[in-house]
């Protein structure tokens, strides 16, 4: 399977959807949060890309912002690509992003998991509720500011 070079893919996306790419490197393309649905729809439905399999969706907390990462695969062109988007700058309490549920049903549980553990709200998701934890659980545990009272195996001064 070929991996799309992020820079080439970014040029392709930018020609069809102007002002959508923020930055790109050799592995991934970083797109504007507002354009994410449009970009992914373009990548799914345009022949030549035809990313019909949403391999994985996940999110990372980078303290000053969040990042949602989409790993796409194509069973037709046998290729894969990584699309990222940054959101929730300045510790926004309820960062929002468009759901891709209407493009790939496979996003259903994965987006619910991100909402549950990372606290990112997916607009237009038909059933956005907690999936692993129970309703009323305080906070979102995978955020870096979530306080755990566990005893860490590694002393905290060694972690840096």
């Amino acid at each position: 399977m070929n991996e799309w070079n992020g820079k080439i893919l970014a040029d392709e996306i930018n020609t069809h959807i102007p002002n959508s790419v923020v930055s790109s490197d050799k592995d991934s393309v970083n797109v504007e949060k507002e354009k994410i649905y449009e970009v992914l729809k373009f990548l799914k439905e345009t022949s030549g890309f035809s990313f019909d399999l949403l391999s994985s969706v996940t999110a990372v907390d980078y303290i000053d912002h969040f990042e949602v990462v989409y790993h796409l695969k194509s069973l037709i062109t046998l290729s894969k690509a990584t699309i990222k988007t940054k959101l929730g700058f300045g510790r926004e309490d309820q960062p929002e992003i468009d759901s891709v549920y209407s493009l790939w049903k496979g996003a259903d549980f994965q987006e619910r998991e991100i909402f549950d553990l990372m606290g990112i709200y997916f607009t237009n998701h038909p059933n956005l509720k907690r999936i692993l934890l129970w309703d009323g659980f305080p906070g979102h545990p995978l955020r870096k500011d979530f306080v755990t009272n566990s005893q860490s195996i590694i002393p905290s001064e060694d972690l840096s």
Binding site: S56, T58, H71, L75, K105, G106, T148
Partner: protein, 370 residues
Amino acid sequence: MSIKSEPITINLGPQHPSTHGVFRMRVTFDGETIIDVEPIFGYLHRGSEKLAEERTYTQVVTLTDRMDYVSSMLNNQGYILAVEKLTNIQPEPRGVWLRMIASELQRIASHLVAIGFLIQDLGAWGTPLTYSMREREKILQMFEMLCGARITNSYMRPGGVFMDAPQQFWDSLSSFIDEFPAAVDELERLLTSNEIIFSRTKGVAILTPEQAINASITGPILRSTGVPWDLRKNDPYDYYEKVDFDIPVHDAGDNYSRYLLRVQEMRESLKIVKQCVDFIEPGPVRPHHDQVPFLLRPPKGDCYVAIEGSKGELGFYLVSDGSISPYRWHVRSSSLINLTLLREMLVGTLFGDLFVTFGGIDINMGEVDR
């Protein structure tokens, strides 16, 4: 004229012997027909992804064992491949061959569990399950020789495996390779053309390839709909390019083809193990500590590695900030995502088909909830 009865909602699980762990479904019936299903997860959620953030890269291997506890070797392999990609480690060839032998044996063991419990759920108490568990036991004993553990192996390390296999292992492996085809034949004689299994599984819970791909369903379920998609062939990792094997495909997309496909995949896995034994050569099983230290500090960055697990695409997303523990560790769990279409598969079928379909999907709650 059809008579409408009043719908009734039943909670199945979390404590139910047929849910393969602690899974709960809120099922609404109209008479005996299922009209709605709502899966409810989380009873085995241990927060593995959060736990990994305060453990070193090698310690996280033990967390992967406890995800899908019937295919720990495959989890080890996927995670180690991600660490190797992130840290740019060149694995030792003998370590890689041992890794492939272990994970293909694990795939056989996992499929045996899937088949055994599927037939158990059909109501065949004992016999088929005992047949498949007997074979799995041989594999688990071989794992004990490899690493001292049967289920939670923690066998693999960045750059290879942690210990070379003893002579006893090779002896057991060669007798297993000789005996296993006959054992599969025996299991197949019992089940494959069995009238009861035909009538209970054929044409039940049919998926089309379009539905399956759209819902990110991978592994045996996708291949049972006629799509020859196997990451060992389509995106080869380790030395899968060097071995010769086929991808079994069926196009019925029902529970029977899922069962049959797993039987055929076991034979293919054995073929791979046989070739690995031929290819393996003496040498170190992992790089010396000078090249790969015990305490890894991968450079800043992220990577996603997916392998073909026993249940589908098993992906590991790792983010490093340059410290000794992962900044973020995400597992793309095939068990969870394969349940996406559970409702679509079950609605319209009868109560008796529920656990057959559920066994046909083959999930493991340890991996669903993590």
